[in-house]
Subunit: 209 residues, 2 copies
DNA sequence: GATAGCGGATAGTTCCGCTATCCACTTTGG
DNA sequence: CCAAAGTGGATAGCGGAACTATCCGCTATC
């Protein structure tokens, strides 16, 4: 298959495919002559994965490049790949250093030890959590920390469901990719479900419509 | 207070404040002369809200403008404001129309009726959910739909926690804003917790570190 | 042997979230 | 009272991100 057919099958324009190759998201096709290359189903699959992570997962091209590089690494340290996938939000937060941030970090540390979670305070997810809580505190919603345990219960339930799905449904050789898909697209799924549940709860309380 | 002090208190540069005013995120200060205006704590609070929605919630400026406009509408149709807050992801999805999309819409419709959720199929959250499931199906993870009920349980639990927090902790006049904060920043909080739970579960299974 | 398509390279476009500059005009400090 | 600092308002520019367009010499195909 050459690039035109790949484009037709996936709906991704040819110049965009070239761009993804340039950026290292997609391996180049195998050259059969100086200016002819052939692509196969692995390229097609990879391209669909890229679009899903972009469109549904909201990831950025550079983040996807990192995750896919980790995914293609034959060493495959599973939780490292996941780390790359999970760090996608990390970004360049200025790391405030006010009272709220310090308090939030303390709340997170308490939560992690209370739960017995094997996670470091330096974990990007923990940092992000602390930042979110600090932002809420600055908005006068410091008491939101009181519902953290309810949130954590739900998060554990979701994580259990994810692992169970992987065990039951995914072949070993696809597990790393499955974890990436589950982590990134699963977040979109859960976010949508949460908003649906909000709509329902809100509709039950206040008026019909 | 004039713009310089507002800037100092919030850490937002003056030109950026001017930009937010131009974009309708922040109401202009009250003019005391042709080129002097005064700002108060409501401006400060609003500015912090803007930065939280931007930095932590990942919203875009135009989306924030929509949400805040709804929030400031004295008619205050609560679930409309929430709708504006929840639609933030909606964006310009091309709305595929293949077999996977149709199947995913069916799965979502089943879920909504099975749960007895008061939500329309046209709801942006439902559409987004269907798109996410369709993307997974295209990647060979159609069986992920099997864990949807686990996800939905967790989503309901989170939604209950959110409403409970609002009832207990937030004054009536702040409830609309509280719902926006909870919806948007709560998603960041949950996402971080989910990733922490993944890290923990993954660490328990595969190696130490 | 004409035509369509290709791989590879480079340059341009659009959008977004700011940031810089300018202006005429207060406010403030000495 | 006057100079320096700051202000509101307007316009223009910038840097990053994700494409998109164009061009080249070449190749597959009919």
């Amino acid at each position: 298959m050459r690039v035109g057919e790949l484009s037709r099958k996936t709906g991704v324009p040819v110049p965009t495919i070239k761009y993804y190759v340039r950026e290292g998201l997609l391996p180049p096709g195998e050259l059969t002559s100086r200016n002819q290359a052939s692509y196969d189903e692995t390229h097609e699959r990879r391209l669909r994965l890229i679009r899903a992570l972009l469109d549904v997962g909201g990831m950025r091209v550079a983040e996807i490049a990192d995750v896919l590089a980790a995914l293609d690494d034959p060493e495959r340290p599973l939780h490292k790949v996941l780390g790359a996938a999970a760090d996608r939000v990390g970004g360049a937060s200025a790391a405030y250093d006010d009272a709220e941030s310090a308090a939030a970090r303390g709340i997170v540390a308490d939560l992690v030890s209370r739960r017995g979670w094997r996670a470091q305070a330096s974990n990007p997810a923990a940092v992000e959590l602390a930042e979110a809580l600090a932002a809420m505190a600055r908005l006068g919603h410091g008491a939101f920390a009181d519902v953290l345990d309810d949130y954590a219960d739900a998060a554990e339930q979701v994580a259990r469901a994810d692992l169970g799905y992987l065990d039951r449904q995914v072949a070993v050789e696809d597990m790393v990719e499955g974890m990436v898909v589950g982590t990134v697209l699963g977040e979109a799924v859960f976010g949508a479900l949460r908003r649906l549940a909000h709509v329902d709860a809100s509709a039950r309380r206040y008026g019909e419509d």
